[in-house]
């Protein structure tokens, strides 16, 4: 049976259908979930997509973390289930405390929307299983608040435990240590600012996002046995 990836739709989400499409092309099943529901409906993996949930009012992710479905998302993560936050989804994960640190305004105070080169820095995560460390990928970014920051102790922990999953080759936004994506201590929760689903078809100019989404399906499938 194909692994089912639930994609949570908040008011203001974007690219949720791109994730569903890419997951389907890889042999999985993508299923939209509504943020106002309280159940994940038995999906194997969860994606919090990009966009501007609740208009980014107050701070990106600050309101979305209180959406009814977030309790189930937290339980899914606590049980070791694969959970990926893309862009705004990454911001939601940090606000929810499911990943450490925060995403502040880009160092240049400009919205950035362009392909960006990343380097895969850590394997064995929900989004990098089967991807060689050191692989360079070109994947679009699309954010104003993508400048990752955290306490020095947190950064030391992320480095020490090999939890920095992606780094920018040319840091576009001022992120500490060129961080583009990190994972949880259990390696099942991954947040990243670039959009792998926007690099999932030759027509989009790059298919570099596919190995990452394939990893999500692999870890989701492993979970259901």
């Amino acid at each position: 049976m194909a692994a089912v990836v639930g994609v949570v739709v908040f008011p203001g989400s974007n690219c949720e259908l791109d994730v569903v499409e890419a997951v389907g092309a890889l042999g999985g099943e993508g299923r939209l979930l509504w943020h106002g529901d309280t159940s994940l409906g038995g999906v194997d993996a969860v994606v919090l997509p990009g966009g501007f949930a609740h208009g980014d009012y107050l701070r990106p992710g600050a309101i979305a973390r209180f959406s009814p479905i977030m309790a189930a998302v937290g339980e899914h993560a606590a049980a070791g289930g694969p959970l990926v936050g893309i862009c705004n989804g990454f911001q939601v994960l940090t606000e929810a405390g499911l990943l450490p640190g925060a995403l502040q305004k880009n160092a240049g105070l400009k919205f950035l929307c362009r392909p960006e080169r990343l380097r895969v820095e850590a394997g064995d995560t929900a989004l990098s299983t089967g991807v060689d460390v050191g692989t360079e990928l070109t994947i679009p970014i699309n954010h104003f608040e993508g400048n990752y920051t955290c306490e020095p102790e947190t950064l030391a922990e992320l480095r020490g435990d090999d939890r920095i999953v992606f780094r920018y080759v040319d840091n576009p936004n001022g992120s500490v240590d060129d961080i583009a994506g990190i994972c949880s201590a259990g390696r099942n929760v991954v947040g990243l600012m670039p959009h792998p689903e926007r690099a999932s078809h030759a027509l989009l100019g790059s298919t570099d996002g596919l190995p990452l989404l394939r990893s999500l399906l692999v870890t989701a499938g492993a979970l259901t046995g």
Partner: protein, 79 residues
């Protein structure tokens, strides 16, 4: 504050710009721009009110990783 030029206010095209000149009063008192949230806290005593506001600050109103919150209590107007 005084508006230096109203010619630069262009609304229809979706871009907006207003140029202000600071008056001497503003130079000493400072200018603050931002959002204000007003709400009423009902609590048994000052300590309980502080605890509740502190909790709101940590969980919602601010992100402690990148923002600081200070709570000050002032004598309120009678209800």
């Amino acid at each position: 504050m005084s508006v230096v030029s109203s010619k630069h206010y262009i609304n229809l095209g979706g871009s907006e710009m207003i140029v202000y000149r600071a008056t001497p009063d503003d130079v000493t008192s400072g200018v603050r721009v931002g959002k204000a949230f007003r709400f009423t806290v009902e609590a048994a005593d000052e300590a309980a009110a502080r605890a509740e506001v502190d909790d709101m600050c940590r969980r919602f109103l601010t992100n402690p990783v990148i923002e600081d919150a200070t709570i000050s209590v002032a004598a309120g107007a009678p209800a």
